[in-house]
């Protein structure tokens, strides 16, 4: 196994900096992680996103060296890291739990990795100065962890991880213990610092908005497998499976049947709907149709228009507003169409024009609809059934 240190593996492109090569993890008969491969480019921020128990933390810990993979190996710049203990991997890690050493001040915490590596006093002093400036916490250098807020502690932990100039930065749900406001601020902060230092980063989270906001690429995981790998836009707009569609963002999910030629039919709706993405599906195929709430446009149906069919000629639907929820920047309307209830999110003051009870025409913007082959319902439901 040490051979591979001497002979770098050649079958990955030079740009693939960190590579997990068909790694898996089983505990007895339980597969925490099915064999999967993943590669990160240098300087990239990739997020592992999924519900708890999907294997995302296991994968991170395999990269960090805290968990030995059952199969496969981890390569960094072509060098096999698998036999190395965590202390030899030079990967900075920030944990979900507060992990500052309670007996050391903020600056001694950040200095810890430098001291262990025998960096000279002068050099480490310079490094400290840079890092505290980077995270904007110069005034907290002498404070002890118990004197710092949760957000400050995680920022110090970030500085501590960066102090050793890690080859890879690993972040294991670093924001999940924090309050909402702090979480948003620190999320932006981490992204900024990551960009400024250009550190290749693997970020684990169960929060889809966090993943979309912070990542160059997102790996959506489900039951130890990669459900989808792509840019935030890919994941959100072109989900590869019902699981991804329902886990990322809010979506109106409807059972539909392909009619061929890009038309789909939803039971209970009077007319078929034209959906570009449905073209490849043969007539009669069972589909799952997803409509993003923010891509539905409403307009009032005047009484004289009511005699129109439930679905207009251009594929528009008609329905009735049955509920409205003011959520601040958006207002969420429930619209009864046939015997389905669609959720439509209107931004700002647009919802003021649509009181409960109003008959409305629902039009779909070009990106509103996405269709997928219907999965066995039980599968997706089991994954999402948390309540």
């Amino acid at each position: 196994m040490t051979d591979s240190v001497l002979f770098p593996v050649a079958d990955h492109s030079v740009a693939d900096y960190l590579v997990a090569e068909s790694v898996s993890k089983s505990y007895g008969a339980t597969h925490a992680l099915n064999p999967l491969s993943l590669s990160l480019q240098k300087g990239e921020l990739v997020t592992l996103l999924g519900p708890s128990g999907c294997g995302k933390t296991t994968l991170l810990r395999i990269v960090a060296g805290f968990t030995a993979p059952s199969t496969g190996r981890v390569l960094l710049g072509g060098r096999d890291l698998t036999p190395l203990p965590p202390a030899k991997r030079r990967m900075g890690m920030v944990f979900q739990a507060y992990s500052l050493f309670p007996n050391l001040s903020a600056e001694d915490n950040v200095r810890f990795g430098l001291t262990v590596r025998g960096v000279s006093r002068a050099e480490s002093e310079k490094k400290l100065k840079e890092l505290f400036a980077l995270i904007g916490l110069e005034e907290a250098r002498k404070r002890y962890p118990h004197q710092l807020s949760g957000g400050q502690q995680q920022r110090i932990a970030l500085a501590r991880a960066l102090a050793i100039e890690p080859q890879v930065l690993l972040l294991d749900e670093p924001l999940s213990a924090l309050d909402a406001q702090v979480r948003l601020n620190l999320r932006d902060e981490i992204r900024r610092v990551q960009r400024e230092t250009g550190t290749t980063t693997l970020f684990v989270t169960h929060d889809q908005e966090e993943a979309l906001a912070i990542s160059d690429r997102v790996v959506v995981m489900q039951q130890g497998r990669v459900a989808q790998l792509g840019t935030p836009e890919d994941i959100y707009r072109r989900p590869a499976s019902p699981f991804v569609a329902e886990f990322v963002g809010t979506a109106n999910g409807l059972d539909a049947v392909a009619l061929g030629g890009g038309m789909v039919e939803v039971a209970g709706w009077n007319a078929p709907l034209a959906v570009e993405g449905a073209r490849p599906f043969a007539r009669g195929e069972k589909l799952r149709l997803y409509l993003r709430p923010e891509e539905l446009r409403l307009s009032e149906l005047r009484p004289n228009e009511l005699r129109l069919s439930e679905s207009g000629p251009e594929g528009d639907l008609s329905g009735q507003v049955t509920d409205r929820r003011f959520l601040g920047s958006i207002t969420r309307l429930s619209v009864q169409v046939g015997n389905s209830t669609l959720v439509a999110d209107l931004q700002g003051n647009e919802a003021a024009a649509h009181p409960v009870g109003q008959q409305v025409r629902v039009s779909l913007s070009p990106l509103a609809a996405h269709v997928l082959r219907a999965a066995p319902v039980a599968e997706t439901q089991a994954e999402l059934a948390h309540v």
Binding site: A64, P86, A87, G92, M93, A97, Y98
Partner: protein
Amino acid sequence: MRASPVVRTGRNLWITVLGLYFFVPLVALAVFSLWAGGSRYDFSAYVQILRDPQFHQTFRLSLLLALETILISLALVIPAAFWVNLRAPGLRNLLGLLSVLSFVVPPIVLVGGLSSLFRGPVLGPEWFVGTPQFLVVGYVVLALPYTYRTLDTGLRALDLQTLSEAAQSLGAGWGTLLWRVILPNITSALLGAALLTFAIVLGEFTFANVLLFNTFAVYINYIGQTQGTPAAALSLISLAITWMAMLGLLRFGKGRVALGGAK
């Protein structure tokens, strides 16, 4: 908070019980220790005890035994507790059970077993079985469960796994981890364990009595059996010694933490 009369009565009752439990015996003992017959009260009993060479001799012996016991049991327990908490939390329940089991071994059984073993078919080396150091074996066994439980509690409060992994990801080996990260954060548990061990050894009567070594507890018993007010005085003196030691250690422990906090 407006407490109901029932609650208030309960509270007062418990404060009273606590007072009775802790202070009344002490006060009565103190009064009795000053009693010099009839209606005279003076410090003669204290003077007598403090002048007794036996007092100094037995106290020094017990002190030495206590220190030896503390060192040996810490050296045994620190790595065990560390390892159990970090690598085998599943074993924690087992060890907890074992430590309760050994609470449950009455010292009298332990010493019986030990001494019959050493006098029986398995003969201990004479130079060892013949010195009071032999007691340390029993004391370590007696003190282990306390030491283990105290350190275990201290380590559990730490989130040992995260701290260890953080240290390792920063390049620290096991030694650095133990000396620079773990031990500095459980000083109060260490002090607590040391203190409990100290108190156990200083007060342990059964072992020494059965094995015929003249420790401090045996001396206390001897005085208690033979003399009245000096026994009360000695009781108070030994209470004062152990409590002073404890408060001193606690203060030192606090001091360390405060020092750490202000450095």
